[in-house]
Amino acid sequence: SQQGEEDPQALSIQEGENATMNCSYKTSINNLQWYRQNSGRGLVHLILIRSNEREKHSGRLRVTLDTSKKSSSLLITASRAADTASYFCATYPVTGNQFYFGTGTSLTVIP
């Protein structure tokens, strides 16, 4: 399987702290994307980072990509209770038309 893996599987932090989750993948990619999923809801696209980029910011989100290590990280700064959700990475390989998803990190932000 080309599925990515997120680490940790679960993360619990206090409001105001930073949350970092990691994604590893197996093949060469065109881009990597991060999604959020609130309980019982669909996936919401957060941010895309291209294979030729190393870092990208969007509001309180910071994503890094290391193609040599085939890994990415998502940092959420100054977390809020509303950030409680599952976070998934998805890779779009150089060849093929499919996206490959990891199994997700469950983030709990305690007020």
Binding site: S1, Q3, N30, N31, Q33, Y35, R41, G42, L43, V44, H45, L48, R50, S51, N52, F88, A90, Y92, N97, Q98, F99, F101, G102, T103, G104
Partner: protein, 114 residues
């Protein structure tokens, strides 16, 4: 939300019955996908389409078929539902843009097979 709707949103059915789920998009995207989401497995691709009448299998296609007779609609059919197909099903579209290809999801269909 990229104009994606799914119907029905919830369905309970019995083993052996046929079930069809519908995905509808309003933005004329060429690529459409069907995933299932199960605890511990993340999202797994069932089938995808790259144009009208053009489809291909994903990782977990056994027991499922798809059809796309119009750009805006992508149907997923369980010919004879089994309890192992109890899951949440998501439809998605892919935007076109090389390195910028992005995926956007519908709200999901929760299917229970008794």
């Amino acid at each position: 939300d990229a104009g994606i709707t799914q119907s029905p949103r919830h369905k309970v059915t019995e083993t052996g019955t046929p079930v069809t789920l519908r995905c509808h998009q309003t933005e004329n995207h060429r690529y459409m996908y069907w995933y299932r989401q199960d605890p511990g497995h993340g999202l797994r691709l069932i089938h995808y389409s790259y144009g009208v009448k053009d489809t291909d299998k994903g990782e977990v296609s056994d027991g499922y078929s798809v059809s796309r007779s119009k750009t805006e609609d992508f149907l997923l059919t369980l010919e004879s539902a089994t309890s192992s197909q109890t899951s949440v099903y998501f439809c998605a579209i892919r935007t076109s843009g090389g390195l910028f290809n992005e995926q956007f999801f519908g709200p999901g269909t929760r299917l229970t097979v008794l």
